[in-house]
Symmetry: C2
DNA sequence: GTAAAGTCAAGAGCAGTGCTCTCTTTTGTT
DNA sequence: AACAAAAGAGAGCACTGCTCTTGACTTTAC
Protein backbone atom coordinates (compact mmCIF):
# COMPACT_ATOMS: atom_id res chain seq x y z
CA UNK A 1 0.00 0.00 0.00
CA UNK A 2 2.07 2.92 -1.22
CA UNK A 3 1.31 5.92 0.90
CA UNK A 4 1.55 8.41 -1.95
CA UNK A 5 -1.24 6.69 -3.85
CA UNK A 6 -4.00 7.40 -1.41
CA UNK A 7 -2.73 10.50 0.26
CA UNK A 8 -6.05 12.16 -0.49
CA UNK A 9 -6.93 12.39 3.17
CA UNK A 10 -3.59 12.86 4.90
CA UNK A 11 -0.89 14.60 2.88
CA UNK A 12 -2.23 16.64 -0.03
CA UNK A 13 0.10 16.60 -2.99
CA UNK A 14 0.97 19.94 -4.59
CA UNK A 15 -1.38 19.02 -7.40
CA UNK A 16 -4.28 18.52 -5.06
CA UNK A 17 -3.56 21.75 -3.25
CA UNK A 18 -3.50 23.65 -6.53
CA UNK A 19 -6.70 21.98 -7.60
CA UNK A 20 -8.46 22.82 -4.36
CA UNK A 21 -7.29 26.39 -4.63
CA UNK A 22 -8.62 26.68 -8.17
CA UNK A 23 -12.00 25.29 -7.11
CA UNK A 24 -12.09 27.76 -4.23
CA UNK A 25 -11.35 30.56 -6.69
CA UNK A 26 -14.16 29.39 -8.94
CA UNK A 27 -16.60 29.38 -6.04
CA UNK A 28 -15.45 32.82 -4.97
CA UNK A 29 -15.88 34.25 -8.46
CA UNK A 30 -19.19 32.44 -8.76
CA UNK A 31 -20.42 34.15 -5.62
CA UNK A 32 -19.44 37.52 -7.03
CA UNK A 33 -21.37 36.86 -10.21
CA UNK A 34 -24.28 35.53 -8.19
CA UNK A 35 -24.37 38.69 -6.11
CA UNK A 36 -24.11 40.92 -9.17
CA UNK A 37 -26.39 39.22 -11.68
CA UNK A 38 -28.47 36.62 -9.82
CA UNK A 39 -28.60 32.85 -9.89
CA UNK A 40 -30.32 32.36 -13.22
CA UNK A 41 -27.68 34.49 -14.95
CA UNK A 42 -24.76 32.62 -13.41
CA UNK A 43 -22.49 31.86 -16.34
CA UNK A 44 -19.57 29.47 -16.30
CA UNK A 45 -18.04 31.32 -19.24
CA UNK A 46 -18.06 34.59 -17.34
CA UNK A 47 -16.45 32.90 -14.35
CA UNK A 48 -13.84 31.42 -16.67
CA UNK A 49 -13.11 34.86 -18.12
CA UNK A 50 -12.63 36.31 -14.65
CA UNK A 51 -10.40 33.38 -13.81
CA UNK A 52 -8.29 34.23 -16.86
CA UNK A 53 -8.93 30.88 -18.47
CA UNK A 54 -10.85 29.53 -21.42
CA UNK A 55 -14.39 28.34 -20.72
CA UNK A 56 -13.82 24.66 -21.25
CA UNK A 57 -11.02 24.64 -18.70
CA UNK A 58 -13.33 25.17 -15.74
CA UNK A 59 -15.06 21.90 -16.59
CA UNK A 60 -11.92 20.19 -15.33
CA UNK A 61 -12.82 21.43 -11.87
CA UNK A 62 -16.59 21.69 -11.90
CA UNK A 63 -18.70 19.08 -13.62
CA UNK A 64 -21.39 21.46 -14.78
CA UNK A 65 -23.14 24.71 -14.07
CA UNK A 66 -25.46 22.86 -11.72
CA UNK A 67 -22.49 21.51 -9.80
CA UNK A 68 -21.28 25.06 -9.30
CA UNK A 69 -24.74 26.00 -8.11
CA UNK A 70 -24.57 23.18 -5.59
CA UNK A 71 -21.20 24.38 -4.33
CA UNK A 72 -22.57 27.90 -3.97
CA UNK A 73 -25.67 26.53 -2.23
CA UNK A 74 -23.64 24.68 0.37
CA UNK A 75 -21.36 27.66 0.81
CA UNK A 76 -24.32 29.96 1.40
CA UNK A 77 -26.07 27.57 3.78
CA UNK A 78 -22.95 27.32 5.85
CA UNK A 79 -22.34 31.04 5.87
CA UNK A 80 -25.88 31.63 7.07
CA UNK A 81 -25.49 28.84 9.60
CA UNK A 82 -22.25 30.33 10.89
CA UNK A 83 -23.80 33.78 11.20
CA UNK A 84 -26.75 32.37 13.11
CA UNK A 85 -24.55 30.25 15.35
CA UNK A 86 -22.36 33.21 16.20
CA UNK A 87 -25.33 35.40 17.03
CA UNK A 88 -27.04 32.75 19.14
CA UNK A 89 -23.91 31.63 20.96
CA UNK A 90 -23.20 35.21 21.98
CA UNK A 91 -26.07 34.95 24.46
CA UNK A 92 -26.32 32.75 27.54
CA UNK A 93 -27.90 29.36 27.04
CA UNK A 94 -30.86 30.16 29.25
CA UNK A 95 -31.78 33.41 27.51
CA UNK A 96 -34.24 31.67 25.27
CA UNK A 97 -36.15 34.73 24.12
CA UNK A 98 -32.94 36.63 23.52
CA UNK A 99 -31.55 33.77 21.48
CA UNK A 100 -34.71 33.63 19.41
CA UNK A 101 -34.48 37.31 18.62
CA UNK A 102 -30.77 37.01 17.89
CA UNK A 103 -31.44 34.15 15.47
CA UNK A 104 -34.10 36.12 13.65
CA UNK A 105 -31.99 39.23 13.41
CA UNK A 106 -29.03 37.22 12.18
CA UNK A 107 -31.09 35.65 9.41
CA UNK A 108 -32.44 39.03 8.32
CA UNK A 109 -29.05 40.73 8.47
CA UNK A 110 -27.41 38.02 6.40
CA UNK A 111 -30.27 38.01 3.90
CA UNK A 112 -30.03 41.76 3.40
CA UNK A 113 -26.25 41.51 3.12
CA UNK A 114 -26.36 38.68 0.58
CA UNK A 115 -29.70 38.94 -1.19
CA UNK A 116 -28.64 36.82 -4.15
CA UNK A 117 -27.46 34.00 -1.89
CA UNK A 118 -30.63 34.27 0.14
CA UNK A 119 -32.67 34.07 -3.06
CA UNK A 120 -30.73 30.97 -4.05
CA UNK A 121 -31.58 29.29 -0.75
CA UNK A 122 -35.13 30.46 -0.09
CA UNK A 123 -36.42 31.91 -3.34
CA UNK A 124 -37.99 30.25 -6.31
CA UNK A 125 -36.20 27.05 -7.23
CA UNK A 126 -33.79 27.45 -10.14
CA UNK A 127 -35.57 25.87 -13.12
CA UNK A 128 -34.07 22.57 -14.16
CA UNK A 129 -31.91 22.40 -11.06
CA UNK A 130 -32.50 19.87 -8.32
CA UNK A 131 -30.34 20.22 -5.24
CA UNK A 132 -28.67 16.91 -4.30
CA UNK A 133 -30.24 16.18 -0.94
CA UNK A 134 -27.35 14.12 0.35
CA UNK A 135 -25.04 17.12 0.14
CA UNK A 136 -27.38 19.95 1.07
CA UNK A 137 -29.73 18.70 3.77
CA UNK A 138 -27.20 18.86 6.59
CA UNK A 139 -26.09 22.47 6.00
CA UNK A 140 -29.62 23.34 4.94
CA UNK A 141 -31.16 22.39 8.27
CA UNK A 142 -28.73 24.17 10.55
CA UNK A 143 -30.92 27.22 11.14
CA UNK A 144 -34.18 25.40 11.75
CA UNK A 145 -32.40 22.95 14.01
CA UNK A 146 -31.00 25.81 16.02
CA UNK A 147 -34.45 27.34 16.23
CA UNK A 148 -36.19 24.19 17.36
CA UNK A 149 -33.49 23.24 19.86
CA UNK A 150 -33.82 26.62 21.50
CA UNK A 151 -37.56 26.09 21.79
CA UNK A 152 -37.10 22.66 23.26
CA UNK A 153 -34.52 23.89 25.75
CA UNK A 154 -36.89 26.64 26.82
CA UNK A 155 -39.64 24.11 27.32
CA UNK A 156 -37.41 21.79 29.31
CA UNK A 157 -36.39 24.72 31.50
CA UNK A 158 -40.04 25.54 32.09
CA UNK A 159 -39.55 28.95 30.50
CA UNK A 160 -42.36 28.60 27.98
CA UNK A 161 -45.64 30.26 28.84
CA UNK A 162 -48.85 28.61 27.69
CA UNK A 163 -49.56 29.57 24.07
CA UNK A 164 -51.81 32.64 24.13
CA UNK A 165 -55.02 33.10 22.26
CA UNK A 166 -57.68 30.56 21.43
CA UNK A 167 -56.49 26.95 21.45
CA UNK A 168 -56.17 25.56 17.94
CA UNK A 169 -56.72 21.85 17.66
CA UNK A 170 -54.04 19.69 16.04
CA UNK A 171 -55.73 17.13 13.78
CA UNK A 172 -54.52 13.51 13.95
CA UNK A 173 -52.82 13.46 10.54
CA UNK A 174 -50.75 16.48 11.49
CA UNK A 175 -50.06 15.02 14.91
CA UNK A 176 -48.49 12.00 13.21
CA UNK A 177 -46.08 14.23 11.30
CA UNK A 178 -45.25 16.16 14.44
CA UNK A 179 -44.68 12.97 16.38
CA UNK A 180 -42.17 11.83 13.74
CA UNK A 181 -40.34 15.14 14.03
CA UNK A 182 -40.37 14.98 17.81
CA UNK A 183 -38.95 11.49 17.92
CA UNK A 184 -36.32 12.15 15.26
CA UNK A 185 -35.00 15.19 17.05
CA UNK A 186 -35.68 13.96 20.56
CA UNK A 187 -37.97 16.83 21.46
CA UNK A 188 -40.09 17.11 24.58
CA UNK A 189 -42.16 20.04 23.36
CA UNK A 190 -45.83 19.06 22.94
CA UNK A 191 -47.53 18.83 19.57
CA UNK A 192 -49.35 22.12 19.84
CA UNK A 193 -46.08 23.96 20.39
CA UNK A 194 -44.17 22.10 17.68
CA UNK A 195 -46.87 23.13 15.23
CA UNK A 196 -46.62 26.71 16.40
CA UNK A 197 -42.87 26.45 16.10
CA UNK A 198 -43.25 25.49 12.45
CA UNK A 199 -45.44 28.54 11.95
CA UNK A 200 -42.81 30.73 13.60
CA UNK A 201 -40.17 29.22 11.32
CA UNK A 202 -42.10 29.82 8.10
CA UNK A 203 -43.23 33.24 9.29
CA UNK A 204 -39.70 34.34 10.06
CA UNK A 205 -38.54 33.52 6.56
CA UNK A 206 -41.74 34.90 5.10
CA UNK A 207 -41.03 38.27 6.66
CA UNK A 208 -37.42 38.24 5.53
CA UNK A 209 -38.37 37.13 2.03
CA UNK A 210 -40.93 39.91 1.65
CA UNK A 211 -38.30 42.45 2.55
CA UNK A 212 -35.48 40.98 0.46
CA UNK A 213 -37.65 40.27 -2.56
CA UNK A 214 -39.19 43.73 -2.51
CA UNK A 215 -42.79 42.70 -1.84
CA UNK A 216 -43.26 45.69 0.41
CA UNK A 217 -43.60 48.63 -1.92
CA UNK A 218 -40.69 50.94 -2.47
CA UNK A 219 -41.75 53.37 0.25
CA UNK A 220 -44.52 51.70 2.20
CA UNK A 221 -42.24 50.92 5.11
CA UNK A 222 -39.41 53.20 6.13
CA UNK A 223 -38.91 51.62 9.55
CA UNK A 224 -38.19 48.11 8.35
CA UNK A 225 -35.89 47.29 11.22
CA UNK A 226 -38.59 48.22 13.71
CA UNK A 227 -41.22 46.35 11.72
CA UNK A 228 -39.13 43.20 11.77
CA UNK A 229 -38.42 43.57 15.49
CA UNK A 230 -42.12 43.90 16.12
CA UNK A 231 -42.84 40.81 14.03
CA UNK A 232 -40.24 38.85 15.98
CA UNK A 233 -41.83 40.03 19.21
CA UNK A 234 -45.29 38.87 18.21
CA UNK A 235 -43.92 35.57 16.91
CA UNK A 236 -42.09 35.00 20.17
CA UNK A 237 -45.37 35.61 21.93
CA UNK A 238 -47.24 33.03 19.89
CA UNK A 239 -45.00 30.25 21.18
CA UNK A 240 -44.88 31.52 24.73
CA UNK A 241 -41.35 32.91 24.58
CA UNK A 242 -42.02 35.91 26.79
CA UNK B 1 -61.88 63.80 -37.42
CA UNK B 2 -62.55 60.55 -39.28
CA UNK B 3 -64.12 58.07 -36.95
CA UNK B 4 -62.39 55.04 -38.43
CA UNK B 5 -58.95 56.49 -37.76
CA UNK B 6 -59.23 56.52 -33.98
CA UNK B 7 -61.55 53.63 -33.47
CA UNK B 8 -59.06 52.16 -31.00
CA UNK B 9 -61.51 52.42 -28.15
CA UNK B 10 -64.89 52.00 -29.75
CA UNK B 11 -65.03 49.76 -32.83
CA UNK B 12 -62.00 47.44 -33.12
CA UNK B 13 -60.99 46.97 -36.74
CA UNK B 14 -60.42 43.38 -37.92
CA UNK B 15 -56.72 44.12 -37.83
CA UNK B 16 -56.85 45.15 -34.18
CA UNK B 17 -58.91 42.12 -33.32
CA UNK B 18 -56.41 39.83 -35.00
CA UNK B 19 -53.59 41.61 -33.21
CA UNK B 20 -55.25 41.29 -29.81
CA UNK B 21 -55.89 37.63 -30.50
CA UNK B 22 -52.26 37.02 -31.41
CA UNK B 23 -51.07 38.77 -28.25
CA UNK B 24 -53.48 36.65 -26.23
CA UNK B 25 -52.07 33.54 -27.91
CA UNK B 26 -48.55 34.64 -27.08
CA UNK B 27 -49.47 35.15 -23.43
CA UNK B 28 -51.20 31.78 -23.33
CA UNK B 29 -48.22 29.97 -24.82
CA UNK B 30 -45.95 31.96 -22.53
CA UNK B 31 -47.87 30.72 -19.52
CA UNK B 32 -47.53 27.14 -20.72
CA UNK B 33 -43.79 27.54 -21.07
CA UNK B 34 -43.65 29.29 -17.73
CA UNK B 35 -45.45 26.40 -16.06
CA UNK B 36 -43.29 23.80 -17.77
CA UNK B 37 -39.82 25.29 -17.58
CA UNK B 38 -39.91 28.24 -15.17
CA UNK B 39 -39.57 31.97 -15.56
CA UNK B 40 -35.84 32.14 -16.20
CA UNK B 41 -36.17 29.63 -19.03
CA UNK B 42 -38.97 31.52 -20.70
CA UNK B 43 -37.86 31.84 -24.30
CA UNK B 44 -39.41 34.04 -26.94
CA UNK B 45 -38.03 31.75 -29.61
CA UNK B 46 -39.78 28.74 -28.14
CA UNK B 47 -43.04 30.67 -27.92
CA UNK B 48 -42.58 31.68 -31.55
CA UNK B 49 -42.03 28.06 -32.54
CA UNK B 50 -45.23 27.00 -30.78
CA UNK B 51 -47.02 29.87 -32.45
CA UNK B 52 -45.83 28.54 -35.80
CA UNK B 53 -43.94 31.68 -36.61
CA UNK B 54 -40.35 32.78 -36.90
CA UNK B 55 -38.76 34.30 -33.80
CA UNK B 56 -38.45 37.84 -35.07
CA UNK B 57 -42.15 37.97 -35.85
CA UNK B 58 -43.22 37.98 -32.21
CA UNK B 59 -41.33 41.22 -31.72
CA UNK B 60 -44.12 42.82 -33.74
CA UNK B 61 -46.43 42.09 -30.81
CA UNK B 62 -44.21 42.08 -27.74
CA UNK B 63 -41.44 44.62 -27.34
CA UNK B 64 -39.08 42.29 -25.52
CA UNK B 65 -38.85 39.27 -23.31
CA UNK B 66 -39.29 41.52 -20.29
CA UNK B 67 -42.49 42.90 -21.76
CA UNK B 68 -43.82 39.36 -22.06
CA UNK B 69 -42.83 38.77 -18.45
CA UNK B 70 -44.81 41.87 -17.48
CA UNK B 71 -47.86 40.61 -19.35
CA UNK B 72 -47.57 37.25 -17.60
CA UNK B 73 -47.08 39.00 -14.25
CA UNK B 74 -50.27 41.04 -14.64
CA UNK B 75 -52.13 37.98 -15.89
CA UNK B 76 -51.04 35.97 -12.87
CA UNK B 77 -51.81 38.74 -10.37
CA UNK B 78 -55.30 39.03 -11.76
CA UNK B 79 -55.86 35.30 -11.79
CA UNK B 80 -54.83 35.08 -8.15
CA UNK B 81 -56.95 38.12 -7.36
CA UNK B 82 -59.96 36.60 -9.08
CA UNK B 83 -59.51 33.31 -7.22
CA UNK B 84 -59.27 35.12 -3.90
CA UNK B 85 -62.23 37.35 -4.66
CA UNK B 86 -64.38 34.39 -5.59
CA UNK B 87 -63.45 32.49 -2.45
CA UNK B 88 -64.01 35.48 -0.17
CA UNK B 89 -67.24 36.61 -1.80
CA UNK B 90 -68.70 33.14 -1.36
CA UNK B 91 -69.02 33.86 2.36
CA UNK B 92 -71.24 36.43 4.04
CA UNK B 93 -69.72 39.82 4.64
CA UNK B 94 -69.83 39.49 8.40
CA UNK B 95 -68.10 36.10 8.55
CA UNK B 96 -64.74 37.73 9.06
CA UNK B 97 -62.89 34.68 10.31
CA UNK B 98 -64.38 32.53 7.58
CA UNK B 99 -63.36 35.03 4.94
CA UNK B 100 -59.83 35.12 6.31
CA UNK B 101 -59.54 31.35 6.11
CA UNK B 102 -61.06 31.34 2.64
CA UNK B 103 -58.57 33.93 1.46
CA UNK B 104 -55.66 31.93 2.83
CA UNK B 105 -56.88 28.68 1.34
CA UNK B 106 -57.48 30.35 -2.01
CA UNK B 107 -53.94 31.71 -2.11
CA UNK B 108 -52.48 28.33 -1.23
CA UNK B 109 -54.67 26.44 -3.70
CA UNK B 110 -53.78 28.78 -6.55
CA UNK B 111 -50.09 28.68 -5.65
CA UNK B 112 -50.07 24.87 -5.68
CA UNK B 113 -52.00 24.84 -8.94
CA UNK B 114 -49.71 27.36 -10.64
CA UNK B 115 -46.35 27.10 -8.89
CA UNK B 116 -44.43 28.79 -11.70
CA UNK B 117 -46.78 31.77 -11.72
CA UNK B 118 -46.60 31.95 -7.95
CA UNK B 119 -42.82 31.90 -8.14
CA UNK B 120 -42.94 34.72 -10.66
CA UNK B 121 -45.02 36.83 -8.29
CA UNK B 122 -43.55 36.00 -4.89
CA UNK B 123 -40.25 34.24 -5.52
CA UNK B 124 -36.81 35.61 -6.17
CA UNK B 125 -36.91 38.55 -8.53
CA UNK B 126 -35.96 37.64 -12.09
CA UNK B 127 -32.43 39.02 -12.55
CA UNK B 128 -32.28 42.06 -14.77
CA UNK B 129 -36.05 42.44 -14.76
CA UNK B 130 -37.79 45.31 -13.03
CA UNK B 131 -41.58 45.20 -12.97
CA UNK B 132 -43.09 48.47 -14.18
CA UNK B 133 -44.86 49.71 -11.05
CA UNK B 134 -47.48 51.73 -12.92
CA UNK B 135 -48.82 48.58 -14.55
CA UNK B 136 -48.38 46.03 -11.77
CA UNK B 137 -49.13 47.75 -8.46
CA UNK B 138 -52.90 47.76 -8.89
CA UNK B 139 -53.30 44.05 -9.70
CA UNK B 140 -50.41 43.27 -7.32
CA UNK B 141 -52.16 44.71 -4.29
CA UNK B 142 -55.54 43.08 -4.75
CA UNK B 143 -54.93 40.26 -2.27
CA UNK B 144 -53.42 42.33 0.51
CA UNK B 145 -56.16 44.92 0.07
CA UNK B 146 -58.76 42.24 0.43
CA UNK B 147 -57.01 40.94 3.53
CA UNK B 148 -56.73 44.31 5.23
CA UNK B 149 -60.26 45.40 4.34
CA UNK B 150 -61.60 42.26 5.94
CA UNK B 151 -59.63 43.04 9.09
CA UNK B 152 -60.88 46.58 9.14
CA UNK B 153 -64.47 45.51 8.61
CA UNK B 154 -64.15 43.05 11.50
CA UNK B 155 -62.79 45.80 13.70
CA UNK B 156 -65.57 48.20 12.74
CA UNK B 157 -68.10 45.50 13.53
CA UNK B 158 -66.52 44.98 16.93
CA UNK B 159 -65.72 41.39 16.02
CA UNK B 160 -62.05 41.63 16.80
CA UNK B 161 -60.94 40.30 20.17
CA UNK B 162 -58.02 41.96 21.91
CA UNK B 163 -54.72 40.61 20.57
CA UNK B 164 -53.65 37.74 22.79
CA UNK B 165 -50.30 37.26 24.40
CA UNK B 166 -47.92 39.86 25.77
CA UNK B 167 -48.43 43.34 24.35
CA UNK B 168 -45.68 44.28 21.92
CA UNK B 169 -44.90 47.97 21.78
CA UNK B 170 -45.01 49.75 18.41
CA UNK B 171 -42.03 52.13 18.17
CA UNK B 172 -42.68 55.67 16.84
CA UNK B 173 -40.88 55.19 13.51
CA UNK B 174 -43.05 52.17 12.74
CA UNK B 175 -46.13 53.98 13.95
CA UNK B 176 -45.49 56.67 11.34
CA UNK B 177 -45.47 54.09 8.55
CA UNK B 178 -48.62 52.50 9.91
CA UNK B 179 -50.34 55.86 10.17
CA UNK B 180 -49.58 56.50 6.50
CA UNK B 181 -51.08 53.15 5.58
CA UNK B 182 -54.12 53.76 7.75
CA UNK B 183 -54.82 57.14 6.23
CA UNK B 184 -54.21 55.99 2.66
CA UNK B 185 -56.62 53.10 3.00
CA UNK B 186 -59.02 54.80 5.39
CA UNK B 187 -58.57 52.20 8.10
CA UNK B 188 -59.88 52.41 11.63
CA UNK B 189 -57.87 49.50 12.99
CA UNK B 190 -55.35 50.67 15.61
CA UNK B 191 -51.59 50.59 15.04
CA UNK B 192 -50.96 47.47 17.06
CA UNK B 193 -53.43 45.53 14.94
CA UNK B 194 -52.22 46.92 11.62
CA UNK B 195 -48.74 45.78 12.54
CA UNK B 196 -50.04 42.35 13.43
CA UNK B 197 -51.95 42.35 10.17
CA UNK B 198 -48.72 42.89 8.29
CA UNK B 199 -47.24 39.94 10.14
CA UNK B 200 -50.22 37.80 9.21
CA UNK B 201 -49.83 38.87 5.58
CA UNK B 202 -46.14 38.02 5.39
CA UNK B 203 -46.64 34.83 7.40
CA UNK B 204 -49.39 33.62 5.10
CA UNK B 205 -47.17 33.95 2.07
CA UNK B 206 -44.21 32.60 4.00
CA UNK B 207 -46.10 29.41 4.71
CA UNK B 208 -47.28 29.07 1.12
CA UNK B 209 -43.81 29.82 -0.24
CA UNK B 210 -42.20 27.17 1.96
CA UNK B 211 -44.61 24.59 0.63
CA UNK B 212 -44.46 25.64 -3.03
CA UNK B 213 -40.70 26.11 -3.06
CA UNK B 214 -40.06 22.79 -1.37
CA UNK B 215 -38.47 24.09 1.81
CA UNK B 216 -40.20 21.43 3.84
CA UNK B 217 -38.29 18.26 3.12
CA UNK B 218 -39.71 15.71 0.72
CA UNK B 219 -41.44 13.70 3.43
CA UNK B 220 -41.32 15.75 6.60
CA UNK B 221 -44.95 16.74 6.33
CA UNK B 222 -47.58 14.45 4.88
CA UNK B 223 -50.54 16.39 6.24
CA UNK B 224 -49.74 19.68 4.56
CA UNK B 225 -53.36 20.69 4.23
CA UNK B 226 -53.86 20.25 7.95
CA UNK B 227 -50.59 22.01 8.72
CA UNK B 228 -51.66 25.01 6.69
CA UNK B 229 -55.11 25.06 8.27
CA UNK B 230 -53.48 25.03 11.68
CA UNK B 231 -51.19 27.86 10.70
CA UNK B 232 -54.16 29.90 9.47
CA UNK B 233 -55.92 29.21 12.74
CA UNK B 234 -53.03 30.45 14.86
CA UNK B 235 -52.56 33.47 12.60
CA UNK B 236 -56.24 34.32 12.92
CA UNK B 237 -55.82 34.12 16.66
CA UNK B 238 -52.89 36.55 16.72
CA UNK B 239 -55.08 39.32 15.29
CA UNK B 240 -58.10 38.50 17.37
CA UNK B 241 -60.11 36.87 14.57
CA UNK B 242 -61.74 34.21 16.70
C1' DG C 1 16.61 8.17 -16.90
C1' DT C 2 13.29 7.33 -19.61
C1' DA C 3 8.72 5.91 -20.65
C1' DA C 4 4.00 5.51 -19.31
C1' DA C 5 0.14 7.54 -17.03
C1' DG C 6 -2.29 11.23 -15.52
C1' DT C 7 -3.61 16.16 -15.70
C1' DC C 8 -4.73 20.38 -17.78
C1' DA C 9 -5.56 24.27 -21.05
C1' DA C 10 -6.91 25.56 -25.59
C1' DG C 11 -9.85 25.75 -29.48
C1' DA C 12 -13.42 24.30 -32.51
C1' DG C 13 -17.99 23.16 -32.71
C1' DC C 14 -23.21 22.26 -31.64
C1' DA C 15 -27.50 23.90 -30.26
C1' DG C 16 -29.70 27.21 -27.98
C1' DT C 17 -30.81 32.32 -26.41
C1' DG C 18 -32.36 37.78 -27.04
C1' DC C 19 -32.56 41.02 -30.24
C1' DT C 20 -31.94 43.98 -34.73
C1' DC C 21 -31.96 44.67 -39.39
C1' DT C 22 -33.62 44.30 -44.10
C1' DC C 23 -36.58 42.41 -47.46
C1' DT C 24 -40.83 40.45 -49.07
C1' DT C 25 -45.60 39.21 -48.62
C1' DT C 26 -50.05 39.78 -46.92
C1' DT C 27 -54.03 42.52 -45.94
C1' DG C 28 -57.31 46.23 -44.88
C1' DT C 29 -58.63 50.50 -46.52
C1' DT C 30 -59.69 53.97 -49.94
C1' DA D 1 -57.59 48.27 -58.58
C1' DA D 2 -54.01 50.95 -56.02
C1' DC D 3 -51.70 52.00 -51.93
C1' DA D 4 -49.81 52.04 -47.41
C1' DA D 5 -49.59 49.81 -43.14
C1' DA D 6 -48.83 45.68 -40.83
C1' DA D 7 -46.83 41.21 -40.47
C1' DG D 8 -43.70 37.47 -41.50
C1' DA D 9 -39.15 35.59 -43.11
C1' DG D 10 -34.47 35.23 -42.79
C1' DA D 11 -29.86 36.60 -41.95
C1' DG D 12 -26.85 38.10 -38.55
C1' DC D 13 -24.52 39.53 -33.91
C1' DA D 14 -23.15 38.42 -29.44
C1' DC D 15 -24.00 35.53 -25.91
C1' DT D 16 -24.95 30.95 -23.26
C1' DG D 17 -23.88 25.61 -21.57
C1' DC D 18 -21.52 21.88 -22.90
C1' DT D 19 -18.62 18.27 -25.64
C1' DC D 20 -14.76 16.69 -28.05
C1' DT D 21 -10.20 16.61 -29.81
C1' DT D 22 -5.49 18.17 -29.72
C1' DG D 23 -1.35 19.35 -27.78
C1' DA D 24 1.55 20.38 -23.77
C1' DC D 25 2.91 19.56 -19.21
C1' DT D 26 3.73 17.05 -14.70
C1' DT D 27 3.90 13.22 -11.94
C1' DT D 28 4.76 8.47 -11.24
C1' DA D 29 6.79 3.87 -12.23
C1' DC D 30 10.13 0.81 -13.98
Amino acid sequence: MPAAKQATAKAPTPRERARAQTIADIVRLGREHLALHGAAALSLRAVARDLGVVSSAVYRYVQSRDELLTLLLIDAYNELGDAVDAAVDALPEDDFAGRFHALGRAVRAWALREPACYALLFGSPVPGYQAPGERTTVPGTRVVLRLVRNFDAAHRAGALAAPPGPAVVVPPALAADLAAIRSELGLEVPDELVARGVLVWTSLFGAVSFEVFGQYGADTFEAREELFAHQLGVLAGTVGLA
